[in-house]
Amino acid sequence: MAKELLKGNVAIAEAAVRAGCEAYFGYPITPQTELLEHMSKRMPELGRVFLQAESEVAAVNMVYGAASAGVRVMTSSSSPGISLMQEGFSYIAGSEVPAVVVDVMRGGPGLGNIQPSQADYNQVVKQAGHGDFHPIVLAPSTIQESIDMMVLSFDLAEKYRTLVFMVLDGAIGQMMEPAELPPMREMNEKRPSWALTGQSKRRLNGRLPDKNVVTSIHLGGDELNAFNEKLQAKLAQITANEVRYEESYIEDAEIIVVAFGTAGRVAGTAVKNLRQANVPVGLFRPITLWPFPEKRLAHLAERAKAFLVVEMNAGQMLHDVREAVGCQAPVEFLGRMGGLLPFTNDIEKEVQTIWRRSEVLALHQQN
């Protein structure tokens, strides 16, 4: 299939359709709305389910219902809507049904604004609802990567019976660039054995099967403890298998810029420019924000002199980088809030400052 000029939100919606999404429930919010609008057209065309819910609270619970019935289901929203959905995310995690969420992040707190932001890092990666769980969180930085990860999101959700987030900022959602859509997948009509379908749908050789129950309640302390142990074991398995990141100029880098999503893309340009000026800098771009590529970062910290974390927030991923790096190297931060993108020359200036400082430090240490 050839590349076409696509708008981020529309490309993502179409990728979800082609990945076999059978039901979509959502509520309008900028800068995500084109995704919902595209779904409102495409899903009924294909005889699939689209419903504009009365609120994000309802939308996430409709997703919970359809997920319990074992179909590929998703919602999309932006930061204030994600806050409203948190209760539902926790129930979805607590009953281990697969579901996919796209968060096109905008500036906060409160109504904030509708410009690009990464300020949902904590509310998605750290605490997507009450209780001990983490969704898998994918953070693409281009439209092409978003398309590819939309397909991956459904596969991971089903593989692990888990909640998968794809987080973008408004910049990716709103911009246009050439990208290639995946082919239309065959729909998988078969429901998983645990799904709520009504017992008759699961009859085997005329025998009525046991009823299926989807619930997140475990009233006994031991029982809930056992469930949580099982959930944690699954999260550990995901951590072992699913860490993803991208590196450039990393082999001989003495300074490593760490950034995800659009900030990662801007930082990539800054790193390229700095390399032309012979500054030994590299880029580390986490693609999974959970599980976080902490092992790889810890390894890189063994020889890097310093790290610079660039985010479109006040420093949220920063803490994960600091934890991974430990006391092996200083971790600096450059952030912009208010729905503003970082500028390449700000990043370059910051790296130059850190570089000069580490050079001076090295001289001192030699003397």
Partner: protein, 265 residues
């Protein structure tokens, strides 16, 4: 009466048995609580309509949180008040199943009123069994939007005051005003005659869904002897004497396609 020899016992006529749609387990409901009666009526109706194998329950948060342990068919346990949204998700992807929610008055009339109204307004093919016991049973007897004026609860210690907390909400009447609703009635579980009438209404509500007519809701006035601080007998008398005057029993909406069923009430 002639005594039957053991080998003749098969000639005995079975007149009362556990509905297939009920599990053979004890419930956790308090003695005298009418939640149990409501469960039995639903199970009998589902058996009679022969829809057990395609029925899916969405249980609430409230005293009926474990309803899925008592019914013998596929079930989900929703977040507090969100059952109609969860049920919408289930039904939309399983259009030939029969999906119902079972919700208390805190669950439906308070925290989940938006989900209930919008599911009704969309005319979702769902059935709602709404247990109005004028109180939050599960959390120990706090005021509900359906508590009566003057009713003493653990969060209205001097009695519910209309100035501060408004009037009891009449859900069956409210739902009747929504175009998507095809059946909205109120019944009571306080004595045998009313229990039989309640069962007929539950049956009609499920039939409405089976015919694809739209959203159906049966409000059942129910007792909570524990949190009302009454004996089971006094509690059903309180339903009769105090609740029914505020919550008149009746049919608030019956779609034309269901009208012929009314004669059976």
């Amino acid at each position: 009466m002639v005594m039957l020899a053991p080998n003749q016992q098969q000639t005995e006529k079975l007149i009362y048995e556990r509905p297939h749609s009920l599990e053979e387990v004890y419930t956790h409901y308090c003695p005298g609580c009418t939640h149990g009666i409501a469960h039995r009526l639903i199970a009998e109706v589902i058996d009679e309509l022969d829809i057990q194998e395609r029925t899916i329950l969405v249980a609430p948060v409230g005293c009926a949180v474990f309803a899925y342990n008592y019914f013998a068919f596929d079930s989900a346990e929703a977040a507090h008040g969100r059952a109609p949204a969860m049920a919408t998700g289930i039904k939309r992807v399983n259009p030939d199943s029969i999906v119902f929610t079972y919700q208390g008055d805190g669950d439906l009339a308070s925290i989940g009123i938006a989900e209930a109204i919008h599911a009704a307004s969309r005319g979702e093919q769902l059935t709602v069994i709404f247990i109005n016991n004028a109180i939050y049973g599960m959390t120990g007897g706090q005021m509900a939007p359906t508590s009566l004026l003057g009713q003493v609860t653990t969060s209205s210690p001097t009695g519910r005051d209309a100035q501060a907390t408004g009037q009891p909400m009449r859900i069956a009447e409210m739902m009747a005003g929504l175009p998507g609703v095809v059946y909205s009635v109120r019944r009571s579980l306080h004595d045998a005659r009313h229990v039989i009438q309640a069962k007929q209404a539950i049956k009609t509500a499920f039939e409405a869904q089976m015919q694809g007519l739209g959203f159906s809701i049966v409000e059942l006035l129910s007792s909570c002897p524990t949190n009302w601080g009454m004996s089971p007998a006094d509690a059903v008398h309180w339903v009769r004497d105090e609740m029914i005057p505020v919550y008149p029993l009746g049919d608030y909406k019956v779609a034309e396609a269901l009208q012929n069923k009314r004669g059976r009430n």
